[in-house]
């Protein structure tokens, strides 16, 4: 088939068009209480990341911090269907993955500050998060590095036979690494229960997808590997959740891996808090537009329209959350750094 036809077939079309999907979410059939909880979780992620970003600017946070502000709906929509015995792996931009599993606020803030009370005991910073009790097996920043690990965790889950699954979060950029393609093949061939989640924010570092791949939609690779895929608006927590449920249920039921492509956009630069640091195709124009597709506001608008939330309630949620984050931040600041002996302590198991 001629390459132009293929390119056209794999366009994201309106899903990547920020002038679309600005209206309140369609929440018919969803439980308002659950949606309210999701809203709170998304606000927590946003406020915590804003705080981290501010603290980068202030010089208090020194580690590289990749913020997912604008992308909160993805992990929140997916994690609803996960349980603590599942095995979730993230990458460099994984605050939201951690939070969405119920990860402790104090522990992540302490980690970002390099404190021993951090979720990785101060050995990792923002790019290395851990919370295995809640199913977060780890995030590390080599692009695509954890995708094969998640596939192996799925193999383990299949051997366990309890219906647990693994989740591999990665980005549109990671899809350029061979590791991802090998992983798709293994999971598909052997029917290992892993959910591949691509947060397609159209950028890898400073480069728009059009400068890196011949087509936009990463789900084409799932197709080529015969993996059941869904492509959804990643700023719509309801749509993400619905697609995730179908794929997670299938994986738990022994039907093999699934692939979810959530189209979204990050509001900040590749690393750090600045909005304007990225170069690339139309970034600043698009950003203004994408902010109107805010996953938090769209959910709030829908809840208000449905009468499930007062018009001013979102402000209240933000306010409370800010207080909570500030308090946690102060505790994190007060916490001690790891002792020098930690350097050599955890090279090998004790």
């Amino acid at each position: 088939m001629a390459s132009e036809i293929l390119r056209a077939r794999y366009r994201l079309a309106e899903l990547a068009d920020p002038s679309r999907f600005r209206e309140p979410l369609d929440i018919r059939g969803a439980d308002p209480q659950r949606l309210l909880a999701q809203l709170r979780q998304m606000v927590l992620i946003r406020v915590a990341e804003e705080k981290i970003g501010d603290m980068v600017t202030a010089g208090a946070v020194r580690c590289p911090a990749h913020l997912g502000i604008g992308q909160e709906a993805v992990a929140v929509g997916i994690s609803e269907h996960l349980r603590p015995t599942d095995r979730v792996f993230g990458a460099h931009r994984s605050h939201s993955h951690y939070f969405a599993l119920g990860g402790d606020l104090d522990a992540i803030l302490a980690e970002v500050l390099g404190k021993v009370t951090g979720c990785s005991r101060g050995m990792g910073g923002s790019m290395h998060l851990f919370d295995q009790p809640r199913g977060f097996y780890g995030s590390v920043p080599i692009v695509a590095g954890t995708v094969p690990l998640a596939v192996g965790a799925a193999l383990a889950a299949k051997m366990d036979g309890n219906g647990d699954i693994a989740v591999a979060y990665f980005g549109d950029g990671a899809a350029e690494e061979g590791a991802v393609h090998e992983s798709l093949n293994l999971a598909s061939l052997f029917g290992w229960p892993v959910l591949f989640v691509v947060e397609n924010n159209l950028f890898s570092s400073h480069l728009h997808v059009s400068l890196r791949q011949p087509a936009e939609s990463v789900a084409r690779f799932a197709q080529a590997h015969c993996i059941d895929a869904e492509v959804v608006d990643g700023n719509d927590v309801v749509a993400v959740s619905r697609a995730a449920k179908r794929l997670v249920d299938a994986a738990r039921a022994g039907k093999g891996p699934g692939f979810l492509e959530a189209v979204t956009y990050r509001w900040r630069g590749h690393v750090g808090p600045r909005e304007d640091i990225d170069v690339g195709v139309n970034r600043s124009v698009d950003l203004a537009s994408w902010k109107k597709r805010d996953p938090v506001r769209r959910l709030a608008d829908a809840l208000v329209a449905a009468g499930a939330m007062r018009p001013d309630e979102l402000d209240g949620v933000y306010g409370e959350t800010r207080e909570r984050v500030e308090a946690a931040w102060r505790r994190a600041e007060a916490a001690p750094y790891p002792a020098d002996a930690e350097l050599l302590r955890c090279v090998y198991a004790e």
Binding site: R87, F89, G118, C119, S120, R121, G122, M123, G124, H128, F130, Q132, Y137, G138, V140, I142, G145, T146, V147, P148, L149, A150, V151, G152, A153, A154, L155, A156, A157, M159, D160, A166, G178, A179, E182, S183, N185, L186, L189, F190, R345, C346, V347, Y348, A349, E350
Partner: protein, 337 residues
């Protein structure tokens, strides 16, 4: 005590592990094949099932990463690479992920994975099918690197590697598969307590090797004995973390050191042995400059005559040892230069 060959020893270890430990499985390219891994895994798939002995697509990176991932979930996978050369594709999984996982996440999770790479060379296979990159693995903190020489170690150290909570790179050499010794039944040992070991006592020179190089050293020691030179041989066994104390003690006694390694010299294992020894010895202990016997600084050739020239031989080791001892003889006769 019964006779045990090296290749059989490896297979016995697999059998032992797969029999007793439900959380052990094996994954790698070529595992259902009759030829890839010599006799070291024959019929494991038939005996333990293809769900536990998994032959894979040609995807070294994802397969190794998958083993690492499974090891974080309570399993003890052994991932097998029929040639160390193929591991060039999976270095990220070994070095960026497995080796660092515990450390970078605060010691809260440990990839108890064993990564078996087979040195499979000679036979005119050439540059991309002959490498032995154990020095690379030894360079990286977080990995344990095991190079068994004796059939018993091939067996018991594989068992120990898999039972160890850390990521272990276990490298065996096809050239040893036929080697036999009398061996006691399998003993489950703690890998952390295993290190270099004197396998032959001697007084005049210390020969240090690992894996096939130890074999060369022992044969050279025989040859040297016939020339009246008494060589002590140290078999390193575990090259990372490396505990040089046995080598240091030996050299303190013999005052001469020849380090033998089946890989290249620069930043390799033989140089490490020398450095580890001399940095611990008071000046004046050595009676001769230490020497290395390694591959020449070239890739593996194919043509048989060049292969013969390429690989270190017993003669090379013996000659290096004689060179050290000769120096003493000269010294005894007084400085001549």
């Amino acid at each position: 005590m019964s006779r045990l060959a090296y290749g059989d020893g490896i297979r016995h270890a697999f059998e032992h592990l797969l029999e007793r430990y439900a959380n052990v499985f094996v994954i790698g390219q070529g595992l259902w094949s009759p030829w890839y891994v010599g006799n070291s895994m024959t019929d494991l798939d038939k005996r333990f099932g293809r769900e536990r002995v998994i032959d894979t697509p040609v995807s070294e990176l994802a397969c190794t990463g998958a083993a690492v991932g499974a090891s974080l979930c309570g399993y003890r996978p052994i991932v097998v690479h029929p040639r160390v050369d193929f591991m060039l594709y999976c270095m990220d999984a070994v070095v960026n992920q497995a080796a660092k996982w515990s450390h970078m996440l605060g010691g809260q999770a440990h990839p108890a994975v064993t990564i078996r790479g087979i040195v499979n060379r000679g036979g005119e296979q050439g540059a991309q099918h002959s490498q032995a990159l154990h020095a690379w693995f030894a360079h990286v903190p977080g990995l344990r690197v095991v190079l068994p020489y004796s059939p018993r170690d091939a067996r018991d150290l594989l068992v120990a590697s898999v039972l160890c909570d850390d990521p272990v790179v276990y490298v065996d050499d096809r050239w040893l598969y036929g080697l036999e010794e009398d061996a006691a039944p399998i003993a489950e040992r703690d890998l952390r307590e295993i290190g270099p070991r004197v396998v032959r006592d001697g007084a005049d020179v210390t020969l240090v090797g690992a894996s096939y190089s130890t074999h060369l050293c022992l044969q050279a020691a025989e040859m040297l004995a016939r020339s009246g030179v008494s060589a002590e041989v140290v078999d390193l066994r575990v090259i990372a973390p490396l505990d040089p104390s046995a080598v240091v003690a030996s050299v303190r006694k013999t005052r001469r050191l020849v380090a033998v390694d089946g890989s290249w010299s620069t930043c390799g294992l033989a140089g490490e042995v020398i450095a580890s020894v001399v940095e611990r010895l008071e000046p004046g202990v050595l009676a001769a400059a230490p020497a290395r016997v390694t591959l020449p600084a070239a890739s593996a050739p194919t043509s048989k005559p060049l292969e013969d020239a390429y690989y270190p031989t017993v003669d090379d080791v013996a000659a290096a040892a004689l060179g050290r001892v000769g120096a003493r003889a000269l010294a005894a006769r007084g400085r001549q230069r």
